[in-house]
């Protein structure tokens, strides 16, 4: 069993990063193709869940010492903040700004405040999912 666990844990670490990057990809893809902050967040959360299964709650908590409720709050603040920026420049709430840039490596890229908003969504989803899993896990 011990050996198995080691293998499992090793694999889990690798798979975690693969899933995580996949999630990041989905997140950025959202504006043009299917994906987005919400799905990205859920996929990230499932990556963390994988770690939880491979190790256990306490270890993961030591690995990622995060208060997920704060993640939720920060996500909300980010989303609200992004939406509120426009208020300060005399534009209706939630007016987004974007422009197209040519960056080396990426080529034509758009920098979009909507992406910041989506990041907020992402954080909330990760935070909430992990809060649920952690509290239920703690209870058992």
């Amino acid at each position: 069993m011990k050996v198995n666990n080691v293998i499992l844990q090793f694999t889990a670490k690798i798979v975690f990063f693969i899933i995580f990057f996949f999630a990041v990809h989905i997140f950025f893809a959202g504006h043009y193709t299917p994906g987005g902050g919400f799905v990205g967040g859920l996929v990230t959360a499932s990556a963390i869940v994988l770690l939880v299964i491979a190790f256990d709650l306490n270890t993961v908590h030591k690995l990622l010492p995060i208060n997920y409720i704060y993640v939720v709050a920060i996500g909300l603040i980010l989303a609200l903040g992004t939406a509120a920026i426009s208020m300060f420049v005399e534009q209706p709430f939630f007016t987004h700004f974007f422009d197209y840039f040519y960056l080396p490596l990426f080529g034509k890229t758009s920098l979009h405040t909507a992406a910041l908003f989506d990041l907020g969504v992402y954080l909330v989803v990760v935070g909430v999912t992990m809060t649920i899993i952690q509290t239920i896990g703690d209870d058992e």
Binding site: A73, I77, L80, A84, M87, P92, F93
Partner: protein, 496 residues
């Protein structure tokens, strides 16, 4: 374009977020909440006067033109309700310092309150029917948090029922919106109003109107959809009950009011007649419950149902007098219900029971409480010059004008049942021989609960006595309700 009208929604929202930090720090939680409420109230006041001055304010979010983006509309009705909501919440939160208990305060009670305010104010302000659904969900989710917070047995048991009912009503809400979208192809409320007028409300729209009535009616607790309410509301502690009693059903009432004055105004003989019948049945059902119980909580809870019926009766008349009365009564009822729940909360605190038959003689040691209860009770029954009177007067005046003579007289008679049910509490709890008294009454706690309650009763008295100062506001609201074009023009033509 007026971003300002969003503030009463996003300020509580923002404070809810920052309250998610510092969960165990009681002082931080309390001060931040009060601060947030005060700022919101100031904004709501400013907004109210802005709307009075400049007519309905609109904001098309994201700069997208009206029917395509989400539009927020602050007309007089919503500005009034938003302000009332925040003021009531302020007093309830203050009251809660004495009665909600430190454990709950440390477990997201305050974020819950702020979220519920976000949802309620959002629902009052939104000009988009699907966005209204989203705000409903915000306030419902926050209400789930508050109703279950603490996890007492009865809370858990009743929460299940409460949530079940609301999940179902939400599903119905969504499909009703979908039906409407299928027929008129838009979600913006002003646009819906214009388009329904364009096609002259065909039968299918009337069916959808009825569905809306039932969906909102489930939240507003109208007959025959109110059954879930009495037990569910009795489960959480008093401040939460006061919040629910004052605000939640009123959101449903508001939604009926809005849709039935803005959208579905072309087949009054059917839709509003149905509303009238349901309103009367609601009053009867509420009256039966209010008289059937000797439990103080239940008596006041059933009075919520009665009031909903009275307000909707006003809406069903669809003339300016009755609509004005309905708005008057709506605001009054929010204030007075909060005050009454707070008052009986104190009574429960003193006596340690909710059973009226075990109480008695409180007048001897708590005369001030007794007087304020009596004033609140008379106000509820609509005795002039207290707050409930003008609303009821205008409602029956509108009822008579609309030719509903007998049902208007019935509304008058129903006040009597209201009076009987609340005076019973006075006679049994405050008069009579000394009854049961709890053995750990803390004077400080009592005072923390007493002062906000008294202030709220005072506000209700001012609302009644100072009606003249309120009339211009309510008048604007009623004008807008009786003439949808003011609303639609403000939204679609940007005519601020």
């Amino acid at each position: 374009m007026n971003n300002f009208l969003l503030l009463p929604i996003i300020i509580p929202f923002f404070f809810a977020m920052i309250l998610m930090f510092g969960q165990k720090n009681l002082k931080y939680q309390r001060i931040t909440t009060i601060l947030g409420l005060i700022i919101s109230i100031i904004c709501a006041f400013a907004l109210l006067f802005n709307v009075k001055e400049n007519g309905p304010q609109t904001l098309t979010l994201g700069s997208w033109p009206a029917p395509f983006g989400i539009t927020m509309v602050s007309d007089m009705l919503s500005a009034l309700l938003v302000l009332t909501t925040l003021v009531i919440a302020f007093f309830i939160v203050w009251y809660g310092f004495g009665s909600i208990g430190k454990e709950r305060e440390r477990f997201f009670y305050y974020p819950g309150v702020m979220f519920i305010l976000t949802g309620v104010n959002g629902a009052f302000t939104t000009g988009d029917i699907f966005n209204m659904f989203v705000f409903f969900e915000v306030l419902l989710m926050a209400s789930y948090l508050l109703i279950v917070l603490g996890g007492e047995k009865s809370q858990l048991r009743e929460s299940i029922k409460y949530i079940l009912v609301n999940v179902i009503s939400s599903a119905l809400f969504v499909i009703t919106v979908a039906y409407l979208y299928s027929v008129v192809g838009t979600l913006n409320m002003a646009d819906i109003s214009v388009k329904i007028a364009e096609i002259n409300q065909p039968g299918i729209v009337t069916v959808i109107a009825v569905l809306f009535l039932l969906v909102f009616g489930m939240k507003a607790a109208i007959f025959p959809l109110y059954f879930w309410l009495p037990n569910a509301y009795a489960a959480p502690p008093i401040p939460v009950l006061a919040l629910f009693g004052a605000l939640l059903t009123k959101v449903g009432v508001y939604a009926i009011m809005r849709t039935y004055t803005l959208f579905f105004t072309h087949d009054l003989a059917f839709t509003h007649e149905l509303l009238l019948v349901l309103a009367i049945l609601t009053i009867i059902a509420g009256s039966i419950g209010a008289l059937a119980h000797f439990d103080v909580k239940q008596i006041i809870i059933y009075n919520i149902v009665i009031a909903v019926g009275v307000i909707l009766f006003g809406v069903a008349q669809m003339n300016e007098a009755a609509l004005e009365g309905a708005v008057f009564y709506l605001v009054h009822d929010m204030i007075i219900k909060a005050a009454l729940f707070m008052l009986i909360g104190i009574v429960i605190y003193i006596t340690g029971t909710t059973n009226l038959r075990q109480m008695g003689g409180l007048m001897k040691n708590y005369p001030a409480l007794g007087w304020f209860y009596l004033i609140a009770a008379l106000g509820l029954a609509g005795v002039p010059p207290l707050s409930g009177f003008i609303g009821k007067l205008l409602i029956i005046q509108g009822g008579f004008e609309a030719g509903n003579t007998w049902s208007s007289i019935f509304i008058l008679a129903s006040s009597l049942v209201v009076l009987l049910s609340v005076i019973r509490i006075f006679i049994y709890a405050f008069w009579g021989e000394q009854g049961q008294v709890s053995n750990n009454i803390n004077k400080t706690t009592y005072n923390i609960m007493f002062y906000p309650t008294v202030l709220l009763v005072f506000i209700s008295i001012l609302y009644g006595v100072g009606t003249e100062f309120v009339v211009p506001f309510i008048d604007d609201a009623a004008k807008l309700l009786s003439d949808p074009s003011i609303y639609t023009d403000a939204v679609l033509k940007g005519g601020n």
